[in-house]
């Protein structure tokens, strides 16, 4: 069980990092989603892995730590909302500039003369 959870976190993180380092926004957003899944499982495991016990703090002998579950719930909600925002902004950027590279295009790092058009407010 520990091995399974640990390797799941590891694989998700590795895949997420790889995708995050890609050039275009879509794989990067996918990568960040994978990373958030990885961190959710990681948070879940941070209260120790207990099988078949209720997540209620009581005087019973066996229980699952309920706090990480609450943390994961919060983290899921936040990462879901954030991913939605990122997707919308990436779409807007793609439709506006007809280009979905994450980096600034060459020669337009904000230093070149081509940027002046964007300076108009």
């Amino acid at each position: 069980m520990e091995l399974l959870v640990a390797s799941a976190i590891g694989i998700l993180t590795a895949a997420g990092l790889y995708l995050t380092l890609r050039l275009r926004t879509f794989p990067v957003i996918m990568g960040i989603s994978l990373l958030t899944y990885a961190v959710n499982v990681f948070l879940f495991a941070s209260g120790r892995l207990t099988v078949g016990a209720p997540p209620i703090l009581s005087d019973a002998e066996v229980y699952t730590d309920p706090l990480p579950q609450a943390l994961v719930l919060t983290a899921i909600v936040i990462s879901f909302g954030m991913t939605a925002v990122a997707v919308m902004m990436a779409l807007g950027s793609y439709l506006g500039a007809d280009d979905d590279h994450v980096n600034d295009p060459a020669g337009d790092s904000g230093q070149g003369p081509t940027k002046d058009a964007g300076d108009e407010v």
Binding site: I32, S46, Y63, L67, L71, M89, A97
Partner: protein, 524 residues
């Protein structure tokens, strides 16, 4: 238990939805509500700062649950000082946004602005690390909206980069929190301080990983080299008033480092010893250098100011990473100065932009409103570079003075003084190109000047400049207060006992005994 502490969070949290629901189509009503909220926030923040100035630590238990089970808000000298700074900055930035008409160039500016204030206030007041994460997200998601306010392809691209970088930062923050929780079983800062100190030296691997991850997260927020790459284009492309408000966002990272690394992982904690001097100080020195060289290299005024922010954050981090009471006091003074100066500088950039049409650093015909804008640029540039007589000079002097006892004193003095010269050259070049060379050129026939910025815009920038001058004149009292803040930070025992011993629901419940029985049952 006084309810005042939660008001800086509650007030914007109620105001923002109200603005969206009730005043969506009426920019006038939005402005009135938003400004009234900002003024009320200054009042509340000043009252809180007054209440805690004598060293009182006031806590607020949400839902009356005792720490560490419930979330607590803690108002001590440091947090109330940051809350007051945020409130004051928020008011002047809002005044500028109204005066320049930026708030009318897209929708929901005022609502997002209030949510941003809510997140900032919460981040400064909370006494719980997970709650800090949540407030970070609140301020970030509002900042995403503000950052792309009024749209445009270039701004949207910069916005996407900013969002993606910060999403990665948030993920890292969660990893750090998970590691901390797995090691200690708590996320309340006061409780963490107690438990981290109890971990014996053989089993510190996990806690050291957590400490390093956390400092990485806060360093991303504080834009410490090499984690600063998100800052230049997002600050440069953000609307002027938004960039000015963002001046406090980097300080959130600095605040979090000060708070966590004096309370939870204090410098004398053996498990994480060396983290500050070995890693943070050199990174901060490189930040100063990168920022100041960036000032010299920038070809647009907005980029120049963004690099000035990196440099001045580096300066703050140099002072923080000394981790002595003198260093922290100097850092706090410099945080006040740097926030006000960066915000004023971003607003001046926006004045130049609206008077000139672009920000390229090359000679162009005179802009509208050139005399006043040039005068303001001159004053802020002096403050930012750290020339006498303004507060930047005094702040630098304090940092140099605090660094004398550090083993790296030669490096600190060399970098701080050397880069001061570089930034001076950069700012004078930019100023003379923008304002002086312009007089040699005349306007092409038939082309109208953009209208001069409104009076309210100048009032807002002038207000920030007045504060900078006040910070210089009253440097003595401010520094004494900063010293008191630092003294409180280096004596965390009252903070811990106030948080952990205030009665509330579930107080007296021994979590460690329950956890102990759980571990036993796992062992069976």
């Amino acid at each position: 238990m006084s309810h005042w502490i939660v008001l800086p969070v509650i007030l914007p949290a109620i105001l923002a939805p109200f603005i969206v629901l009730a005043a969506r189509y009426h920019i006038g009503i939005q402005r009135v509500l938003s400004l009234a909220g900002a003024i009320a926030l200054i009042g509340i923040a000043a009252a809180l700062a007054w209440q805690t100035a004598d060293g009182t630590i006031a806590i607020y238990q949400l839902g009356d649950w005792a720490a560490p089970f419930g979330i607590v808000l803690v108002a001590d000298r440091l947090s109330t000082m940051m809350v007051l700074l945020t409130a004051v900055l928020g008011f002047f930035v809002l005044l500028y946004a109204v005066g320049s008409g930026w708030d009318d160039r897209g929708r929901h500016f005022h609502a997002l602005f209030q949510f941003q204030l809510m997140g900032l206030m919460g981040a400064f007041l909370t006494g719980d690390l997970f709650n800090l994460f949540v407030f970070f997200e609140v301020l970030l998601i509002a900042s995403y909206g503000l950052m792309i306010h009024s749209g445009g392809a270039v701004r949207l691209r910069a916005g996407v980069q900013y969002v993606l970088f910060n999403l990665l930062g948030s993920t890292l923050f969660l990893f750090a929190l998970g590691a901390l929780y797995a090691e200690t079983g708590t996320l309340n800062m006061a409780d963490l301080a107690v438990r981290v100190a109890q971990i014996d030296l053989d089993g510190t691997v996990g806690i050291r990983v957590a400490a390093v991850l956390l400092i990485l997260v806060f360093a991303i927020k504080a834009a410490v080299v090499p984690l600063h790459f998100w800052l230049p284009s997002s600050y440069a492309e953000a609307p002027g008033p938004v960039a000015a408000l963002f001046a406090i966002m980097t300080k959130v990272g600095a605040y979090a480092i000060i708070r966590v690394y004096t309370l939870v992982f204090p410098p004398n904690l053996e498990a994480t010893a060396g983290l500050q001097e070995m890693w943070l100080l050199p990174a901060a020195l490189i930040s100063v250098a990168v920022g100041m060289i960036g000032i010299l290299a920038a070809r647009h005024l907005d980029r120049l100011v963004a690099y000035a922010v990196i440099g001045s954050m580096g300066m703050v981090m140099v002072a923080i990473s000394l981790f002595t009471p003198e260093g922290i006091a100097a850092a706090l003074y410099y945080i006040l100065h740097s926030t006000l100066a960066s915000a004023a500088l971003f607003l001046v950039v926006d004045l130049v932009r609206s008077g000139r049409g672009n920000l390229a650093l090359r000679a162009a015909p005179p802009m509208s409103g050139t005399a006043l804008t040039a005068g303001m640029f001159f004053v802020v540039a002096i403050a930012m570079v750290g020339l006498p007589p303004l507060s930047g000079f005094i702040g630098k002097l304090m940092i140099l003075d605090a660094a004398i006892s550090s083993p790296l004193v030669v490096w600190i003095w060399a970098v701080v003084l050397g880069t001061g010269l570089i930034s001076l050259v950069g700012f004078s070049r930019a100023g003379s190109t923008l304002f002086w060379k312009a007089t040699a050129l005349s306007h092409p026939e038939g082309e109208d000047l953009p209208p001069a910025p409104g009076a309210l815009s100048y009032v807002a920038v002038g207000g920030l400049l007045t504060l900078l001058i006040a910070l210089t004149v009253f440097a003595g009292p401010v520094y004494r207060h900063a010293t008191a803040v630092a003294a409180q930070l280096f004596d965390p025992a009252p903070y811990i006992s106030e948080v952990l011993n205030t009665p509330g629901k579930l107080s007296g419940y021994d979590a460690s005994a329950a956890a102990g029985s759980k571990l036993e049952s796992e062992g069976h």
